[in-house]
Assembly symmetry: C2
Homo-oligomer: 518 residues x 2
Amino acid sequence: MADSELGERVGRRARGGGGAARRAERTAVKVEFSRFITRNIPDMEILNEEALELIEHNAETVLEEIGVNFVENPEALERWREAGASIEGERVRIPRGLARKLCATAPSQFTQHARNPERNVEIGGRNLVIAPVYGPPFVRDSQGGRRYATIEDFRNFVKLGYMSKWVHHSGGTVCEPTDVAVNKRHFDMLHAHMTLSDKPYMGSVTEPSRAADSVEMSKILFGDEFVDQNTVMTSLININSPLTFDSTMMGALEVYAKANQACIISPFIVGGAMAPVSVAGTLTQVLAEVLAGVAYSQLIRPGAPVIFGAFVTSIDMNSGAPTFGTPEASLITLGAGQLARRLNLPYRSAGGFTGSKLPDAQAAYETANTLNNGLYAGVNFMLHGCGWLEGGLVSSYEKFVMDADQLGILHSLAKGVDISENGQAMDAIREVGPGGHYLGCAHTQANFKDAFWRTKLLDYRPFETWEEQGAPDTMALATKRVEKMLGEYQQPAMDPSVAEALAAYVARKKAEVPDAFL
Amino acid sequence: MADSELGERVGRRARGGGGAARRAERTAVKVEFSRFITRNIPDMEILNEEALELIEHNAETVLEEIGVNFVENPEALERWREAGASIEGERVRIPRGLARKLCATAPSQFTQHARNPERNVEIGGRNLVIAPVYGPPFVRDSQGGRRYATIEDFRNFVKLGYMSKWVHHSGGTVCEPTDVAVNKRHFDMLHAHMTLSDKPYMGSVTEPSRAADSVEMSKILFGDEFVDQNTVMTSLININSPLTFDSTMMGALEVYAKANQACIISPFIVGGAMAPVSVAGTLTQVLAEVLAGVAYSQLIRPGAPVIFGAFVTSIDMNSGAPTFGTPEASLITLGAGQLARRLNLPYRSAGGFTGSKLPDAQAAYETANTLNNGLYAGVNFMLHGCGWLEGGLVSSYEKFVMDADQLGILHSLAKGVDISENGQAMDAIREVGPGGHYLGCAHTQANFKDAFWRTKLLDYRPFETWEEQGAPDTMALATKRVEKMLGEYQQPAMDPSVAEALAAYVARKKAEVPDAFL
């Protein structure tokens, strides 16, 4: 498990200097931050009314005739029975219309609070909130190659997310800190999100008790009363597709829903394996699963905030490998968005998906295909927005900053077209006239600074200059940017008593039980 | 001007063996070919009715009050005067509504014939026809690096286009054959398209006489009468933005329109330099320019087939470099599509654009951004669909096959969602049930072969296998694919008398005048 030179170098730089020195520096570097996206453009609607009604009808048929399994969860079965479902073993068959009716109490939009109120996000409606990669056991960078992720990597990714202008959310398991015991990781991960960033974050879902710990730590950060009355976490509850709800994930959902904390209820589908090979069939199953999952959340607590999730990829029928950025996945992402809006639920899908082993052209094609379709699908919460590599096995330092740069494009696209008098620019066209140029005209002078999205990464130098300066590819540029961002990172200020209380809680809880690595 | 090893190697392989040997081989390798795209999904409409009317109103104001210049073209001025425009020097001011009225005779869709009728394309309506990169003076590949393009490179790119399943059109100047005299290049280029491919092609526009030569050569290929009665070329007429129509391009347009051959009438805009820095302002200028250009084509010959073009990029305000795959360019591409459809004209825009010097992640992000938005913009003719690198200075061998692979994705996306009984897959969901998997179910068995788009390039191998086999990045995979495609290339059959007549015409015309390199 070799540590990355890059990670170490920037780690040292970030750790260098005491608290006083850091505070003095703090005013020097301004952390840029963009508000979440609010779309001023329409959604791409690929399903017509007939198709939508057919899929909705079929999903209800699935729930009624086939049903879903709630595994090792007798209380869930009892809740379903009371709600009017028919129970047979662990199978729950839900009469046509019941799940949809139960879903109606879920809010169409909710605020997730951050410890810095300027970083609060509104999830739902015309908004798009973007969070980084979630879940990989490995990391990769240009110096250290591919290796198991550590808590140091985890902290670096939280810092990168904090420093990334177009990333609105600190996320959750930005990588798996494999050097920390499985039963204690969530403490260190949450502690990193809470202290190294001031953006909103996700809670642990790997055990119901860890979800409860997440709520406890949030109460230290925000105060008991605030957490009782507000949503401060959005956590990822995967459905075990097809049509199966396991007790671990449902247990975490129960904890969060009871505490009025938000959950993404997300079918996890590799099309062809966990769902039919057809788009309409997959959409039917996705809708059935989400209807059942969201309905269950509302049985726990009517009004609990939930998100209609759809993690969808397809399978390579030659090798069995999952594939990303494919047209079938895009169609499902677009179609599921329509289904979510008809349920008045916030929608989670898309991300910077790729199956590539390297942050190369394949990675970028697949990622851009997914990001563009995610925007047009009306996604409200985009997990894996940056840093995802190798089908989710790897969090990539370089791809994190590459993708994070591209996310700026979604912000500008979503703004749509300014048709104000300034936007129309008729004065400029008059001033310049046939055969002229606009570089120096008054309208250009007044507008050029904000007229175009600007990259912080990509290379626009002329060939000769670029070649003289080493002919760097995107990977090399990204390595430099990672170093720069981690080097410039400064921890956001925090009330010292809260910081102490958090540290003490983590230390105490970690000391209570022995390490477990399974 | 070092030749590429790759180019030479595959050149030798392609040249190896006589005609008889090649004919014998011909049956062995099947060249895959896909019909042009017909969209079964809606367009992305980012402008509402108010915005559209405003831009249309402003464009008419530009034509009426500012006007356009027809440079060194007294006959054009006379045509405009007769049509009712006001002429002052070279300035043509067009009364409100006149240009739009003149545009009404242009067809909303037309057939461009190929010598192989199976390769005919329908340009307009819900269709999307894709052609390769156009214009670069340089080529690049992994072995030979960046160097001036030669006629050997040109022929290789024509062969790659012919071998690319998702490329419908052989294009035009796939690279500039700089080793051939400027005044004779068009003969060799057309000869290559006509003999090495059987897909439709573009004519020369660099001199009116070269446009006439293109018509002559097409008559040898198709027969005089056929060319008189049908469109067999679509050629690229750039407008010298802002608002300027030069006599070279207009001269070529005149030749083609008189011969009923199609032209793309295309503003060439680097936003901030040749158009205002705002999207609405640029759309206004694009519309004014296209209205004037298309109207002029209809003054030459009412009913002449033309395409509403929009080549749009923005400028990096720091360096002055053109930028690609940006959100502003995407918005313009989407908006111009709406304007074109309201004029009932076929629409040309987008392509595999990038400013990157290498076929790296930057190139792929920028390209995918452009391709996806091109599809959703309702583009009917996509030039530069594959192979474009470094802002159009370079035709890249590797990027050609990378992009050409991605174009398959557009085909699948455009199909939309199959909601037939088979598409709904309810039997599969019933068969598999909760907790099962779909890999072996009857529906998967019946559908898996065609269910998902399949790459011929990208890597889906597991990490360990991929690493053992050399850990190739996309560039390395693409180098192999170029070799394979050029190695397997076989010339499509042609009537020997036509082949002789074409060769004789080219030889005679090239001998008539001395070489000129300016």
